[in-house]
């Protein structure tokens, strides 16, 4: 035990290894490349495999192959790389291939500013793949979250057989923090459900269930995987009834379970009229702002969302109940605020954000919170 002084990226690597990740492939990109370094330092010695891809498309491709062969796999990148992952993200959705993808966001658009943080990919993570089916996105606030949410990310990827994103940020991934190992939260590790008896159809689901049971490529029974629209047996189908049932199942298997993994932190203050909503590193400035406001005699409540997609609608509605307004603060020009406005209907929802490469400060949030 003892105290570590580590970056968020290193904590992600630790969480991944704890969760059973044994395959990691990435293409070097700031601010995600230290994750590749740490994995390369630790994983091969632990019986795992680390590969540096010739590009990001290859990096995620290697992971999908390894995951289909039964290994828990992860890749890490930043904005430009997430863009290149797109076609394989939709493959992971369609083929129900578990994978964890860390997006250590940097200021954009495009190649942007490599050594400065932002949260500019939040809508892109949800919608940046063809077909528009749902994915899971978790957003760590600090080093501690980087460990625990990575474990959750692997567990969810295994449980639902889908891609799960960690929406990190240079300011989380590359900021070092002291971390008392004795206080680390280690969720129990989940494994994908294996097919055990009877004939195996790679995409068949049991009655009342939405996730097919798994067998690995390379095992005793031949397994089919395909990126094309398929039926239960894994062959291309043109039957509209089968196709519609499949895409609805892919949506339902994630969205109908959303409340079971709506991670959040709610700080309610007596007499508050404003609810600040934040995620990622900005949640820390928001928390400091709420304490400063409290000292000024202005109670403001704070909702920190750690699951961004699927949108934790009930959490948002309940936290905002009785509030006069919500204030969304994020390191972009206004992305998640659209979800908050959608969920909160006619309630007043204000927005404050910037994407200058600098942290949003508690002072700025205090000013916005006091602005009527």
């Amino acid at each position: 035990m003892g105290i570590l002084f580590i970056e968020g990226n290193e904590a992600v690597a630790m969480g991944a290894i704890y969760a059973g990740c044994r395959f990691f492939a990435a293409y070097p990109i700031t601010p995600a490349s230290s994750l590749l370094s740490v994995m390369l330092e630790r994983l091969p010695g632990a019986g795992g495999i680390v590969i540096q891809g010739e590009d990001e498309i290859a990096a995620i491709g290697y992971c999908l192959g390894a995951s289909m062969a039964g290994m828990k796999a992860m890749t890490a990148t930043s904005g430009p790389g997430i863009s290149l992952y797109s076609e394989n993200i939709s493959f992971a959705i369609a083929g129900e291939i578990p994978i964890v993808i860390a997006d250590v966001m940097r200021q954009g658009p495009s190649t942007g500013s490599a050594t400065h943080g932002a949260d500019g990919d939040i809508q892109f993570l949800r919608w940046g793949s063809s077909g528009g089916l749902p994915v899971i996105v978790l957003a760590p606030v600090d080093v501690r979250d980087c460990f625990t949410l990575t474990v959750h990310a692997f567990n969810l990827a295994e449980q639902f057989r889908c891609p799960v994103f960690l929406a990190s940020n240079k300011e989380v991934g590359m900021t070092r923090e002291s971390l008392d190992l004795a206080t680390l939260i280690k969720p129990p590790v989940v494994e994908r459900i294996r097919h055990t008896s009877g004939p195996f159809l790679p995409f068949a689901v049991k009655k009342g269930e939405d996730v097919p049971s798994f067998l690995p490529i390379g095992g005793a029974i031949p397994v089919r995987q395909t990126s094309s629209t398929h039926g239960a047996e894994g062959y291309i189908t043109t039957d509209p009834v089968v196709i519609q049932a499949t895409v609805e199942r892919l949506q339902r298997k994630i969205e109908s379970h959303a409340e079971a993994f709506s991670f959040f932190q709610l700080e309610q203050r007596e007499g508050a009229r404003t609810l600040i909503v934040a995620y990622g590193v900005t949640a820390r400035a928001a928390q400091a702002a709420c304490l400063a406001l409290q000292e000024k005699g202005v109670p403001v409540s704070l909702l920190v969302l750690k699951t961004l997609w699927p949108v934790p609608e009930r959490v948002l509605s309940e936290a905002a109940a009785g509030m006069e307004r919500a204030l969304m603060v994020e390191m972009n020009l206004g992305q998640y605020v659209h979800e908050v406005r959608r969920v909160l209907g006619d309630k007043r929802v204000d927005f404050f954000g910037k994407m200058s490469g600098e942290l949003i400060t508690p002072e700025e949030i205090v000013r916005e919170a006091l602005y009527e």
């Binding site: 035990m1 002084f5 632990a46 891809g53 498309i57 290859a58 290697y62 390894a66 062969a69 002291s178």
Partner: protein
């Protein structure tokens, strides 16, 4: 041996398509090698070649255009005992060019069969990277302007240890494929065939013509002696050694009383190569030895060894919420680059803020207490200034002590020349510090 062709899905290709023959000779090759369906993974991508995986009763993965080699590599690394065969067309070859080069250089035990029929059959007969300039295809004049690629020469240049160019109509094509599959390492077969649906309508060509053309091209008939080397997967596993278990991560233990039980915000302003971030890290480690919470946030340009290097630390007896420095207690100003990048920090000083200033560095006016030091005149090299500045703070006992600093140094620099760094700390005892407001 029995055929591995899928009994429930008989192959369907255009009449006269050579893919039908390719499929059957591949099946024969599997049989010659005595392989069972669960010992093979066929990986395919998009196009007519992408139908291959469905016609076999083996493990199969059908993925995105040109990416088959990447999935195959992941499968092979995870599952070394499996025979992994990639079936790809000349279309997949073109779009996946980077993956082809990587596969050749890496030499993982995968067999790539390029079903080369000189055009995109499935999308209407457009030109591919192997379409001859003289051919008439569905891309208008575009193919006339480009030189087709000799994939065998490219693969050999990229390091593939096994390259063969052959017509699928050769009598021994099954033996040829079996040899490629049995080869331990990356093997590539450029297998030429005819596309009657799209290509040969406008470009009459017979099986005999294919033989003639191939005979005129540089010969590739299997092992490439110059590229013979160890297979990647087994080499990788040897490099890793057996898995080590129980390698628990241990952290630092608290064994000092903090000299100051208050929050301190410290900003180090320097230039790349001045070990600014290492000095910040040492200060953090020293503070942790006294049970303090610490955050360290660095800023630097993407070009190394040039430009500003900045490290911001917060040291606090309480958990740290916001990681940005708002009210600096200490500013260490060692280079113009860092000062220029963070001029704003000097507007946030208070009278108790200490600035450790290297002589000759200009800083904006502020109400802080300036401690000017001539590091150069006292024999400190530029790379030692940041460490020396931290030592000056420790000599004043705020936010750490010299004992904490030396203890942190010994713990973090184990076997990495702590003596040199300790000597720098020692030498700071003689440093005159000029204080002024």
């Amino acid at each position: 041996m029995n055929s591995l062709l899928n009994p429930t899905r008989p192959p369907v290709f255009c009449p006269g398509c050579s893919h039908d023959r390719s499929l059957r000779v591949l099946d024969e090759a599997f049989q010659k090698l005595g392989l069972k369906g669960n010992e093979i993974a066929i990986v395919s991508d998009i196009g007519c070649s992408g139908l291959f995986d469905t016609y076999f009763h083996t493990h199969a993965l059908h993925g995105l255009h040109g990416r088959a080699l990447t999935y195959a590599a992941g499968i092979k690394l995870a599952c070394p005992q499996l025979k992994v065969v990639v079936a790809m067309g000349d279309g997949g070859l073109g779009i996946g060019g980077a993956h082809l080069l990587a596969a050749c250089r890496r030499n993982l035990d995968i067999t790539l069969i390029i079903l080369n029929n000189f055009n995109f059959g499935m999308t209407g007969g457009q030109f591919s990277c192997t379409t001859p300039a003289s051919a008439s295809v569905a891309s208008g004049f575009l193919n006339i302007l480009e030189k087709p690629m000799d994939v065998c020469s490219v693969a050999a240049a990229a390091g593939a240890p096994y390259v063969e160019r052959a017509s699928v109509y050769r009598k021994d094509s099954a033996e040829l494929l079996a040899r490629a599959i049995a080869f331990e390492g990356f093997s590539l077969v450029d297998l030429w065939g005819l596309c009657p649906g799209r290509y040969t309508k406008r470009n009459p060509m017979s099986a005999k013509d294919i033989h003639t053309i191939i005979r005129e091209l540089p010969p590739f008939d299997g092992p490439v002696a110059a590229n013979a080397r160890r297979e990647y997967g087994s080499h990788y596993r040897e490099k890793c050694g057996p898995p080590v278990t129980g390698q628990d991560i241990t952290g630092m233990e608290v064994n000092f009383e903090p000299p100051v039980k208050a929050r301190r915000e410290v900003v180090l302003l320097g230039a790349a190569g001045e070990r600014i971030q290492s000095a910040g890290l040492l200060l953090a480690h020293a503070s942790i030895l006294a049970g303090m919470h610490v955050t360290q946030k660095n800023d630097y340009d993407i070009t190394v060894l040039r430009g500003p290097s900045i490290s911001e630390l917060i040291i606090s007896p309480e958990p740290i919420i916001y990681t940005g420095v708002e009210k600096p207690d200490v500013i260490v100003a060692l280079s113009r680059e860092g000062v220029v990048r963070r001029r704003d920090i000097f507007t946030k000083t208070r009278p108790h803020t200490r600035v450790i200033l290297a002589r000759g560095v200009e800083i904006p006016a502020s109400d802080a207490c300036i401690c000017e030091i001539d590091f150069k005149a006292h024999g400190f090299s530029k790379a030692e200034w940041a460490l020396a500045a931290i030592a000056v703070l420790a000599r004043a006992g705020d936010p750490v002590t010299m004992e904490m600093l030396t203890s942190a140094l010994r713990q973090t620099l184990q076997g990495r020349e702590p003596q040199e760094a300790l000597a720098v700390l020692e030498r700071t005892s003689l440093l005159p510090v000029e204080e002024r407001k």
